[in-house]
Amino acid sequence: MSKTAIIIGGGTAGMETASQLARLGVEVDLIEKQPHLGGHLKNWDRLFPNRRNSDEVFDYLEKGMNDGISLHLNAEISNIRKSEEKFTIALQDGKELQSDALVIATGYEVFDARKKEEYGYGIYDNVITSVELEEFFRSNKQKNLLEGVASKRIGIIHCVGSRDEKAGNLYCSKLCCVTGVKQAIEIKELMPDAEIFCFYMDLRMFDRHFEEMYYEAQEKWGIQFIRGRLSEASENTDHTLLVKVEDTLTGLPLKMKVDLLILLVGFVPSPETRRLAAMLGLKEGDDRFLCPADEHTITNSTEIPGVFLAGTVKGPAGIANTITDARATAIQVADYLK
């Protein structure tokens, strides 16, 4: 009888781990609470740094959903038991699944921008999040973005809910910077007349081609960067917004009227990740993301034999790194099951 693995979470990490494990001859149960696979990937329109369509990546991942993978969509886990090296997972519909290994790939969710009340999300009409902007892009409503607004000045706010002790998140979400630059360019593509300002603290263009994108944003699209963190936004009577920052490079406070404010919301561990961690007794870091057995060398296993981690349960990561990480997890699992 061949060995089995259960993968919890059918996003990028879960799909790729499942596909690779199936290829290695492991029987896989893939549990997803949504009615469809793909997780956050399905929310993004185009991906940084090359602005390729996210559907292409999803298509690749979907191709891996071959024989040997049983999909369980709309499935919520009610409890997990471990006995004699076997994991038994009870689903809410009463079904029970058994396996020799368990992969946690329940990922992250975006920071709830309403927690930064002073930024006005959920209070003022023209404050949206980067996620909502992607939805606009995806649903071909682009033309409606700022319809009827004359001046079209847009502010993009970096580090919303990241690097912020007041939000309870001291860590950097890594990918908001590049997302902001990507979205700035995309808005410019749609609305060449728009004036776009990125309000940042540090631009962390850490990966290949990120810095070049920043260069392109300045050179080709004329996007402007102001080094200062938003302290508060208020709404004018015409529903435009007044943002207050310090332009730290001139050392002077700056106020600016914008028609739309886009908040680059960061990563936080998903509630499901935290629930499973509590259920299984997995170690959370002080950033509440899960800790692998070793941060450098054993990055995909946990201290509990048979339980593995894949993707953004361990912290903010982009699509490419998530896929790479998922493959590493698959190898670790296959090794364990030998």
Binding site: E117, E118, G120, I123, Y124, K166, A167, E232, S234, E235
Partner: protein, 605 residues
Amino acid sequence: MTFNLFVLPFSLGFIFLFFTMIMKNRSWIHEMDVEDKRKFKSGLRSPRIFFALREIFFESLLHRKMFRRNPMLGYMHMSFAFGWFLLILFGNMESRIYSGFWINPPYYPIFLKFFIHDKHVLPFEIFTVPGFFRFSMDLLLLFVLSGLFLAILKRSRSHWFGLKKTSQLQFSDKVTMTCLWLIFPLRLLAESFTAGAYGYGGGFITQHLGNVLAFLWPLNDKDVAYACWWMYSLSLGIFFVMLPYSRYMHIPTELILIFYRNFGIQTRKGSGFFSEIELLSCSRCGVCIDVCQLNTAAGIQDIQAVYFLQSIRHKQVMNNIVNRCLVCGRCQEVCPVGIHTDYQRLFHREVFRKSQAQDFSFLNGESTRKAEVIYFAGCMSHLTPTIPEAMQQILDTAKIDYLYLDKDHTVCCGRPLMLAGKPVQAEMLIAQNKKTILDSEAVLLVTSCPICYRVFREDYKLDIRILHHTQYLLELIKKGKIPLQAYFRKVAYHDPCDLGRGSGVYNDPRELLLKIADPVKVRNEGKDSLCCGGSLGLINAGTEEKDRITKEALENYLEAKPEILLTACPLCKKTFAKHSPVEVMDVAELVMEAIPKKAGEVMSC
């Protein structure tokens, strides 16, 4: 013979204490300003003196507040204070029977049993006057001794007295306390040995104990008794001499405090003498330690009011002690002596910052337009825009013509400066703001911030109505100006420190809530409510310590499992929102939510 050398230690100690108190009080009266002197003089000739005596009876003797807090603690204090008082009273009456004079030397009643040895009248001893006193004096001594037993117990088992932590003692306190603890056992021994030696003259305890001792002791009992009398007198004498230098100074000072307070003399700016009276009235009971959230949540145990006041007495006020305090008023609320601990704290912060100049000449003191009602959101409300947004919409719905005074930019109300110990500097800011307010010609000032509300009422001396928005909204609802269709969601209400304890506004928000929500009962509410941890009174504390205070307070509300944590202060809201798993809202937001979106909705309900 009515004199013996051994009475000297007591007598000298007593005279020393008596004159020390006279001198102290003289200097306090001397320090009074004209207003306080007037209050003092008129107080002496008014029925207030009886109120003071009544308060002394209930608080200084019976310790009613202590009883309410913990019966064991109350009994301990009462047995000492009331028991000793009755001993003195009965002792004086008893002594009069034998001396025949109205006035005796103070030592005479104290050492009466040394001088007088009366034969018992059996079997009706208790129905004779001397017999009755003999019986009563022994009973009272027993009463005091039971308190002493509890006091010794309290040192090691403070939790039996409702105190998680008892105050730490200084050396002078330890000496004085030892003398105090010795007084009554020595009196018992002295009287017993004397009664035993003579074979008569004692009460129901001292006589029997004396007889047993006489039987057991092979020495000359009269000599042993004499030694005991000496020691008794010495312990009294040392106690009296040490008293002004120890925490027991609170006993005489509290009496003076109660008189002055009843005369209407209050803690206020510039009255250093009253501050000293309050300071010396602290009995170091330690009740303030247990209610202090810096202790219970953050584990900081050296800054509580009792230690802070102690550090002032010993002239060792450290920056760290004076600045590490939420100024939330919780200790002030429970202090059995009624010491204004918050005021004391700010008064001494001032000492540190007196010479630190400020300059607010850049404010212009002009209002943009005239309006009957002005709305002042406050600095912090600009970081919680839902609150001023809700207020504006509600005021628009109620068709109020108002001016949003700090809409475009915030101006500080001045209380944060006061909390930092800069009341004089704050006055400069207040003067500027006052000009703006007066320039608007408003008759009503509504604010969303309890910090502003408090300083507007206490220090602005404005001749207009000042309301916190919870009060104003209640008023508007009562007048029928706000249509309501409430959802009656389950809410836990948090009393902001400056609104509740600081300004006494407890009922208005609650009355308002009953109209629009389903308030749940929480463990610490009203006067006992906890501080959110965001207080501007806390000058130097780390993020972690503040977080722990917030979490402790949150737990208190979450226990009641509310849908919403409701507050009436932007700072509390912001502080709680950082950690709260449930939604945190201001009362104004809830009122806003209850206003039907369309007129039709009102009709349907």
